[in-house]
């Protein structure tokens, strides 16, 4: 089921949450994404896909918030994958070192596929 946190779209695929970044990733939208990611992690998600298919511009505050999200996910033992990042944003992420911390997939499906390979199957009691 897809939910929205104000203007943040997200949905879950198994234990993976897919969160959609908006067209401009700044302080305001970044904090909304962060809140949504925390909410998903608190709900038991084990992985996060942040999808940038709508994102045209990212500023440095947005990037610093993304780093905060990566920190939080790491503390929760969850993996983060970025998907559908355009070239300019990718260059920016490279420049600021984000791509050393997260995997980047071409699109959401690729991100989910990669995560399902890596993630161990759920334990059935």
């Amino acid at each position: 089921m897809e939910t929205t946190n104000t203007t943040i779209r997200s949905h879950c695929v198994g234990t993976t949450a897919v969160v959609y970044a908006s067209d401009y990733l700044n302080k305001l939208t970044g904090e909304r994404i962060e809140r949504e990611c925390r909410r998903q992690l608190d709900s038991g998600c084990r992985a996060l896909v942040i999808d940038f298919s709508d994102t045209e511009l990212v500023n440095s505050i947005g990037v610093s918030i993304l780093l905060g999200i990566i920190d939080v996910a790491e503390r929760n033992g969850a993996e983060v994958v970025f998907s559908d990042v355009n070239n300019q944003t990718r260059a920016l992420f490279d420049m600021l070192g984000l791509t050393r911390l997260v995997a980047v997939a071409n699109d959401e499906n690729e991100a989910l596929t990669n995560l399902s390979v890596k993630q161990p199957p759920p334990v059935i009691n």
Partner: protein
């Protein structure tokens, strides 16, 4: 001939020369004449003169011009002279001159200004319409004269111009030599009284005199500076002084060679007073001024027994009336100038002269207004003064205190002057032929220059032997750039350490106090120590190191916390010297680099807030916050497309603009909460300037990017410092520019490699 008509049809009334012979000062003359107009009615003009700059002829020319207009403005010119000994005598003389000049103006008869007339004579010469008020004035004066109230009499005389009936004319009073008015004996301070009377009289007036004296009198009289205009009168320019020399040569029938003309201009420091005085002497002695020897021989004659001697002797006599005191004063002055002790306490000076404190104060006050010393109330700094002053003191010292034979003193003074002449001219020609280092440094003003201009080794490797056009074009494409500081004060290094006088011309070794990026903060304060090293070939290592050591020592002694050495040499520096200098972090340039630098600094002044230049410039103002940086980003995107930037480059520019706007919003404490964006399209680049008002923390901009006193509150705060890093990475050139309030970030993106 006074009162005669010149070729231009302007009668000479008080002027010593015809209008077309009056050299320089045309702007000042216009300004003084304008003061007589209705526009300035009731306002005073203080004419602040540098010592020996000459002001009398300027006022006399202004007088003639106004007189010849024959309008309702009645010009009155009065020069205080050393002939008057009391304020009362000077005031009575003023009254007499006033009436004489008034009647001359009313009768349109310039000759009347030059006759010796009593008040009774003037009454008889008064036009019938004026007779009654002048008679009343004379009668009132006679009554006042015997009232035994000096102050009232002085005020009465000075106030006489106000008594002109309105329908007969409006007085315009020009007073010359205000410093002499202060030196008159008696119970009345005439200078202050003059200002009191004219300030309250609603009469336009000019008070001319030594700048320090006039300002002091104005403060003493508690004048409202809002109602006063100030005009500063400095020495003539070199070109004007040379023209004066030429004209004096013709007028005084003194043959002068071209070399002598240049020497006299330099030797007298462009002083109209000294040059004019010198030519009067040449005429009297029928001496041609062809060789340096002709000039210096006459100079020494004048110095030891002519007009120059009289001028300085009169000054010293006013300061120290008794012979013993005068000699002690000469000793104090010369020994201080010749020795290393340029600064002394008031008490030390007083003890050396064996006089009371009030007497010492009077002497120092006089020396101060003539700018022979700088006295702040406690410390006395002995200034150089004009060359003639130093020569006068030295010869007096040797003759009167050391009792050396006159013949010896004369011979050696002449020899010294002759030996000095070529050096004086060499210094001048060097300045004319080239840049003035001080001016060049003053132009720094946070401008960005190719770094190679301050690195001779690199410059030599890449450009040595290349054509000038090629080099200049290459400079334009240089991407490795250096942001110069904003220089706030430049002084001779010898002012910090007098030993340096022995090794370098004062103008060629400078200390420049500056701020990186124009931010006035401790961390940005830097002192540039700049020296021109004399060498006919590339400077060798030993000499380069010697200069580096000298300047480093100066920095330590003077307590400069951060300094930058910059050595300049005509032919550059040899390879080893260059390596040494680079290792020591010094900048080093050759003459050609300086020429290029001069060209760049002169042609690209630091941008100030200015209107849009043309159709290629856009100004956008957005309120801070509310994602308004996106508006700027979208605007710059449209503009960048016009230059055919690649989409990636456009995105980089947009991101940089966004970051700059965020910076402006977060850091500026802006009072108007607005971001000013200027986008300028040039043929090969886009220049974006983002500015905002407000005080900016010191950790913004420049290379010293961290504020040591504030640690980031947490990791995310630390991460928030990425904006500038991003901007620097995304754009080709980034520089912070100084503005008094706030900051301005200028970013440039070049089209090269960016176009499709």
């Amino acid at each position: 001939m006074n009162g005669s008509s010149s070729k231009e049809g302007v009668r000479r009334v008080l002027g010593s020369v015809k209008r077309h012979e009056f050299v320089g000062r045309s702007t000042e003359l216009e300004r003084v004449v304008a003061q007589a107009s209705d526009k300035y009615n009731g306002r005073g003009l203080l004419l602040l003169m540098e010592p020996a700059a000459g002001v009398s002829e300027l006022l006399r020319q202004a007088y003639d011009e106004i007189f010849n207009q024959h309008s309702h403005v009645v010009p009155i010119y009065f020069a205080f002279t050393r002939n008057e000994t009391t304020a009362v005598a000077a005031a009575i003389e003023f009254l007499n001159s006033f009436l004489q000049q008034y009647i001359a103006h009313r009768r349109n008869d310039p000759e009347l200004c030059h006759l010796a007339l009593t008040l009774q004579d003037l009454l008889e010469l008064a036009p019938p319409d004026d007779f009654d008020w002048i008679r009343q004035l004379v009668e009132a004066y006679e009554r006042q004269r015997f009232s035994k109230d000096d102050k009232a009499l002085v005020r009465f005389c000075l106030g006489a111009p106000q008594r002109i009936p309105e329908s007969f004319g409006r007085p315009f009073v020009m007073l010359d030599g205000a410093q002499l008015a202060e030196q008159l004996n008696g119970s009345v301070s005439l200078g202050t009284e003059i200002l009191h009377v004219f300030d309250r009289a609603n009469v336009a007036y000019v008070l001319a005199g030594l700048r320090r004296q006039i300002l002091q009198s104005a403060y003493n009289a508690k004048l409202d500076f809002e109602t006063l205009d100030l005009l500063r009168l400095e020495q003539l320019s070199v070109a004007e002084a040379r023209l004066l020399v030429e004209q004096l040569g013709q007028r005084q029938h003194v043959a002068v060679s071209e070399e002598a003309k240049d020497l006299l201009v330099q030797q007298f420091g462009c002083s109209a007073f000294f040059i004019t005085t010198f030519f009067q002497a040449a005429r009297e002695k029928r001496t041609g001024l062809i060789s340096y020897l002709d000039c210096e021989r006459l100079y020494i004659d004048e110095l030891l027994g002519g007009r120059i001697q009289n001028y300085f002797a009169d000054l010293l006599e006013e300061m120290a009336p008794s012979n013993d005191l005068r000699l002690a004063l000469v000793r104090l002055l010369w020994e201080s100038i010749a020795g290393d002790q340029r600064v002394a306490s008031f008490e030390a000076c007083r003890r050396r002269l064996h006089i009371q404190a009030d007497e010492m104060e009077t002497i120092l006050q006089q020396l101060h207004i003539y700018e022979f010393v700088n006295w702040d109330g406690s410390l006395v700094e002995f200034a150089d003064g004009p060359q003639a002053w130093k020569d006068y003191l030295k010869t007096r010292y040797r003759l009167n205190l050391m009792n050396e034979p006159r013949a010896l003193v004369v011979a050696e003074a002449l020899a010294d002057a002759l030996k000095r002449a070529p050096h004086t001219m060499a210094r001048h020609y060097r300045q004319v032929a080239k840049y003035e280092l001080r001016d060049l440094i003053s132009l720094f003003d946070c401008q960005s220059i190719p770094s190679v201009l301050l690195n001779y080794a690199e410059f030599s490797k890449r450009w040595k032997g290349a054509r000038l056009e090629e080099i200049m074009s290459g400079m334009g494409a240089e991407t490795e750039r250096l942001s110069l500081p904003q220089v706030v004060n430049v002084a001779s290094a010898a002012s910090f350490n007098s030993d340096l006088r022995q090794v370098c011309d004062e103008r060629r070794c400078l200390v420049a106090h500056a701020f990186d990026s124009g931010f006035y903060a401790d961390a940005r304060e830097i002192v540039w120590l700049v020296a021109e090293v004399d060498s006919k070939t590339e400077v060798p290592t030993e000499l380069a190191e010697l200069w580096c050591d000298r300047l480093d020592r100066l920095a330590i002694t003077a307590g400069f916390r951060r300094h930058q050495v910059w050595l300049v040499s005509s032919e550059g520096f040899n390879e080893e010297a260059a390596e040494t200098l680079a290792r020591r972090g010094a900048f080093f340039s050759c003459r050609q680099q300086l020429d290029l630098l001069s060209d760049r600094l002169g042609s690209t002044p630091a941008p100030a807030v200015r209107p849009l230049d043309d159709a290629n410039e856009f100004l956008v103002v957005v309120p801070m916050g509310e994602d308004n940086e996106l508006l700027a980003a979208n605007t710059v995107e449209q503009i960048a497309r016009r230059l055919n930037f690649r989409p990636e480059a456009i995105n980089q520019i947009k991101t940089a603009v966004v970051e700059a706007c965020i910076n402006a919003s977060e850091h500026s404490f802006s009072p108007d909460r607005k971001i000013y964006q200027r986008f300028r399209l040039e043929s090969d680049r886009l220049v974006v300037t983002i500015s905002s008002r407000g005080v900016v923390p010191t950790n913004i901009g420049g290379n010293v990017a961290q504020n040591e006193s504030t640690e980031p509150a947490d990791v995310s705060e630390e991460r928030r410092g990425w904006g500038l890093k991003l901007i620097r990475t995304l754009m080709d050139e980034v520089e912070f520019e100084r503005v008094d309030e706030g900051t301005r970030l200028k970013m440039t993106k070049y089209l090269r490699n960016s176009s499709t």
